[in-house]
Amino acid sequence: MARLRLRSLLTALLASMVPLSQSLSLTGSRTLLVLEEDTKGEFQTLISDLEARGFQLDIRSAKAESLDLFQHEERAYDNIIVFPTKLKGLGPNLQSTSFLKHASHGGNLLILLPSSPDGVVPTAMNELAGQLDIFIPPKGFSIVNHFDPANPAEADHTTFFVDLPSFPPHTKNYFTGDDPAAKLLYRGAGLVLGNSPLAQPILTAPQYAYSYDTKEAADYADDESVFSAGSQLTLVAGVQTRNNARITFVGGADLFADASFTKAVKDKPASANRAFAKDVTAWTFKETGVVRVDTIEHWGEELGPAVVNGEVYRIKSDVTFSIALSEYSYDHFTPYTVPETDALQLEFTMLDPYYRIPLLPATTPLSTHKNSTVYTATFRTPDQHGVFTFTVNYKRPFVSNLLEKQAVTVRHFAHNEWTRSWGISGSWPWIGGVWVVVVGWIAFVGVWLWSKPVAGAAAGGKSKKKQ
């Protein structure tokens, strides 16, 4: 009876969770917006765009006592957006450690820093950025670009045009929206990234832009009072943690404000900001750039593809490895293709890689995959027994980290797998020798037994025995 009730309870619970899990983000749709009432009006379009994409928004003030990112040690939210606030210290449950904990439990974070030089960066955000090897300038800094200002009439040129991101051909670009030629409007202080491989610049400042101290060096900025300049200055930075949680820092919140969405840019009626905001939030909340491993199959020549993913291979035998990859794109999975100039590689490792070979799209995969690309490689196991690992270590900017390891045993030749002695031509003289001795011995015994002893020989034999 109790069990039945429990079951019906569970069903009810599951049913109630269905709308929750209908989210299009791979992490989930429960989204917390840390947003004060007074600034809410500036980001209406962003909020409604997110709602339209299926996110369940929970708008809370940073000061809210009841706000907690964790409930029963489980994440209470899947995604968090922190909007600029006037507070130096956020609420009691919004410390840098709680944000780190949120991310280490797989939750995503989007942090919008104030655009105005007078804006306050909360301590928690500074600490968080420090842990991620991202550096936020102190209060009073702002970027200027005297060469491409949005409003040339404005004296300080702090609002300027930025091109949409462009990356080298081996990097996937998820941030160009529909029109790559469109321009963005930006105002803010910018960021500088350290050498952490996890932090990647999404949007960098134009070549002649620099970030300087608007208070102390209002008239003349020397090297001392410049924070950073040019492409070293990052406007939007994306961090992908080792557990594939995403944390994005936006240097100036105005980038996503309603005001910049509608402004005309040069010859175009509207800036690309709205599309860019969609791309950045989609990437941060795992609607794009998530690569999934559908299947991994490996088999050897010995047993053929009938036995897939066996645990033991023999040295010096052919092994085929195949991996099926698909990529998430807003609401469905599509086959993932590696950029032309990039390579997906397979390592066959025991302490050190014995092989590092490219995985190529299979023309005739073992099993058909509708929504994924199958990459395969065939190689011959080295003449070294041990525990080897098939490793696919594919870590690229903006694509979720892929680290697949499958340990297999490479055994030695079994004692009956060697060539038999007669199969080796070099052994023939020895085998011949053996048989000559055997036949000779039998012949000798025959002759000895059937030959009649001579009288003299018997005497000789006796004298020998005496000794």
């Binding site: 840098s96 450690t97 780190l100 991310a103 280490s104 500074n126 600490e127 950025a129 420090g130 842990q131 991620l132 090897d133 550096f135 936020i136 300038p137 102190p138 500088v192 990234l193 350290g194 050498n195 952490s196 491989p197 996890l198 932090a199 090297d223 001392e224 009072s225 924070f227 950073s228 070293q232 961090v239 943690t241 080792r242 557990n243 949680a245 033991v312 025991m350 302490l351 027994h385 041990g386 525990v387 080897f388 690992t389 340990a407 045993t409 055994r411 030695h412 079994a414 004692h415 004298s463 020998k464 000794q467």
Partner: protein
């Protein structure tokens, strides 16, 4: 009635049957005694496999029983020596496992399904009964069956042999000593009879021995040595020729069938002696044949020429083959037999094993009691008779005495011959003093006659003077009684000593420790099994556990987890890697741990309980072994204080304090004591008030008495930080990272570094 009684006892014909039955009964009693005296450990503790190596043998036996012989033969073990693996089927002596596997199958065949563990536990006691029987046969060939019975009794309970054959001590030696004695018996039989059949049987048991224990090399060298000495003594005979040739040819071919041995008998220096003697005996036989056909003068010249040529050719051939590496040069273990300091300098991994240390003198008495001082007398008795088989006893005694002095574990090979010699002595004494008749006084003439004949015999045979002394007998009943009484006391004391030693010194499984509570009751310390059980139940099936190699077999056997190194120390570099990981600071160690995909690190810590066999006490060996491979990165000197002391308290060197082993041992240890009172009870040292800090490891499990501590290796930091700053941040010191940009972020001026 007395004379009649005496004749009743003395008439061999009339009492033959009774004697035969008595012998069987006595032998059975001896076997029962030797088995039961080895059961202390089972009674005290439980039916459990002991120590370290037996755990591997046990695991291998289980594998054999489960997968069959074919799979066992080809066994590639991927759960040891990660990630190298071990070709176990080809690198073990399968004799032991096959024996217990066969017993298991035989018992099942007669519908007695016995747990394989019980067979393994009780195999050594069972075989000790057989050893007693083999010793009886061997000694019988030397003297007579009464000496044989004494030898069997001695062998049955001598602590030197019990130390390796108590119930649960499932090691190769358990069956190997039986095989050793039986092979020797067969060899003596073959040499005595000159029979190819006995030689063949000897070869068969030699093969069994080769398949069971690496100590077969002792037989391989002892039999040729015996033959060589006989040839030098001018005792070459057709019997020796037949026995040796048939043993060598068949035995060597058979031994090469064991995969682990393979071509060693024709390729290593250790095996060159039998081959050389085989060649020599052919030559001697040929020369012997020539002697019958050539005149003596020509023969002498011929002989000299042959000897010179053969010596030069064979020696230069041996040197040439050794230099060109066709024959492997002597192995390190072999050198350490001659120079006890060799291993310590060149091969620390051999020297680090306690049973490879030179024997301390008291242990001879401890292991053999009064046998050790009867032993020379027995050898002397052999000189008196000096038949071919007595030469064997003498050669065996000399070799085994030397080797047992070099390595503790070789006490095992000395024990049988000591038992045999001592039995011969005791038996001779009893023969002389238990004679009920008082001998007739010989008259002057007879003595003179005897003297004369003695002189004549001495000049005629050229034998030893001592061997020609006439037997006279004991006249006084007092001396008879006193000698017999004192020897009875010695024998009783011997039994008491053996029982005491067995029960106190050799019956501890070492997996389970026993201690006494203040009220005298026994308290079992079961930390090892607690830890291994934790590993078995709480870690992933394929988790890799790093520990010092001593515990490799136990982790494999009890916890069933993959280990990096174990007691089969075949790869020095891999062991040195583990040593380096233990001896280096966290930053270096973490790299090693990551590279080897280590999930858990297991250490033994005795500081709380005063268990002295812990890892900190073994630590210097880890350092030495690591230093042998990476002399620039690990240096033993740095672990000693300026005054050359090995310390773990506040005076310890920084290298010591920063080493992973030190940190793991004393991590959180201070929390057990009031502030500043933490004490290590093994080293009797007070520890610094501030305990070590671990950044890259998490404490996963610590046993009840802190003997085993298990740490989990942290994964890479989720946010790309190094563990030191991550830990510093989490522990509240929220400092920005020490980079140029850090200063920038806090508003300080200065040039920033550029992202590349």
């Amino acid at each position: 009635m007395a004379p009649a009684q005496a004749s009743f006892f003395k008439d061999p014909a009339s009492t033959q049957n009774i004697r035969g039955i008595l012998r069987v009964v006595i032998l059975l009693t001896i076997a029962a005694a030797s088995i039961s005296s080895r059961l202390f450990s089972v009674i005290r503790f439980e039916s459990i496999i002991h120590e370290f190596d037996p755990w591997f043998n046990f695991r291998a036996t289980k594998y054999l029983v489960k997968h069959g012989f074919f799979e066992f033969w080809n066994w590639f073990d991927d759960r040891t020596w990660y990630p190298l693996g071990r070709v176990t089927g080809g690198t073990l002596y399968p004799g032991l496992m096959v024996t217990s596997g066969a017993i298991w199958h035989a018992l099942r065949m007669i519908s007695l399904p016995v747990d394989i563990r019980n067979i393994c536990v009780l195999l050594a006691p069972g075989f000790s009964g057989l050893t007693a029987f083999a010793t009886y046969l061997f000694t019988k060939e030397m003297k007579d069956s009464s000496a044989g019975l004494l030898a069997a009794a001695f062998m049955g309970i001598a602590p030197g042999y019990i130390s390796r054959s108590v119930a649960g001590s499932y090691d190769n030696e358990a069956i190997a000593i039986f095989l050793l004695m039986f092979t020797f018996y067969l060899w003596i039989k073959a040499a005595k009879l000159g029979s190819a059949m006995w030689g063949g049987l000897c070869a068969l048991f030699y093969f069994y021995m080769v398949s069971a224990w690496g100590g077969y090399v002792f037989i391989t060298n002892l039999i040729p040595l015996h033959v060589f000495v006989l040839i030098l003594m001018g005792r070459y005979s057709g019997r020796i020729y037949v026995a040796y040739s048939s043993w060598y040819a068949l035995g060597t071919l058979a031994s090469m069938q064991v995969p682990f041995v393979g071509f060693l008998p024709v390729r290593t220096s250790e095996h060159m002696a039998p081959l050389g003697i085989f060649g020599l005996i052919q030559l001697v036989a040929f020369v012997d044949y020539l002697r019958g056909h050539v005149s003596s003068k020509q023969f002498n010249t011929l002989l000299r020429a042959i000897v010179v040529v053969i010596t030069i050719v064979s020696f230069s051939g041996l040197v040439l083959l050794t230099v060109t590496n066709v024959i492997a040069p002597w192995s390190g273990r072999f050198y350490s037999l001659w120079d006890t300091a060799y291993a310590k300098i060149h091969i620390p991994i051999i020297a680090s094993v306690s049973e490879h240390q030179p024997t301390a003198w008291p242990s001879f008495f401890f292991d053999l009691n009064f046998l050790i001082w009867l032993f020379p007398a027995g050898v002397y008795l052999c000189f008196r008779q000096l038949r071919d088989e007595h030469v064997f006893v003498i050669v065996y005694s000399v070799m085994a005495s030397y080797f047992s002095g070099v390595m503790v574990r070789l006490m095992l090979t000395l024990t049988p011959i000591v038992c045999v010699s001592a039995a011969m002595t005791v038996s001779s004494i009893l023969d002389a003093y238990l004679e009920l008749d008082t001998p007739e006084e010989p008259d002057e003439a007879e003595i003179k006659k005897a003297k004369k004949s003695k002189d004549a015999s001495v000049t005629a045979t050229g034998g030893f003077l001592s061997s020609k002394a006439p037997y006279i007998g004991i006249y006084s009943i007092t001396s008879k009684v006193s000698v017999i009484a004192s020897f009875s006391v010695y024998l009783v004391l011997f039994v008491l000593h053996c029982t005491w030693v067995t029960s106190n010194a050799y019956s501890s499984p070492s997996v389970v420790l026993a201690s006494r509570m203040p009220d005298g009751s026994q308290h079992i310390i079961d930390d090892f099994r607690e830890a291994y059980y934790w590993l078995r139940k709480n870690t992933a099936e394929d988790a890799k556990v790093m520990s010092w190699w001593d515990y490799g077999y136990q982790i494999g056997g009890m916890a069933d987890r993959t280990t990096l190194v174990d007691n089969n120390t075949w790869n020095n570099t891999h062991i040195a890697t583990v040593g380096k990981a233990m001896a280096s600071g966290e930053a270096v160690s973490y790299e090693i741990l990551r590279k080897h995909e280590v999930d858990y690190v297991l250490i033994i810590f005795g500081g709380l309980l005063g268990y002295s066999g812990d890892d900190i006490n073994k630590f210097l060996w880890m350092v030495r072994i690591a230093e042998g491979v990476w002399p620039n990165e690990v240096q033993e000197r740095k672990f000693f204080t300026a005054r050359g002391e090995y310390k773990i308290d506040a005076d310890a060197t920084d290298t010591m304090k920063n080493s992973l082993m030190y940190k793991m041992s004393y991590y959180n240890y201070q929390s057990l004591f009031p502030p500043g009172q933490a004490t290590d009870r093994v080293r009797g040292a007070k520890l610094p008030a501030e305990g070590p800090v671990l950044n890259t490891l998490d404490e996963a499990f610590t046993t009840e008495n802190w003997i085993v501590r298990i740490y989990k290796v942290k994964d890479l930091d989720t946010f790309g930080r190094d563990h030191f700053s991550a830990r510093a941040f989490e522990s509240g010191k929220k400092k920005a990272r020490k980079t140029g940009l850090g200063n920038r972020a806090t508003g300080k001026k200065g040039r920033r570094n550029v992202r590349v």
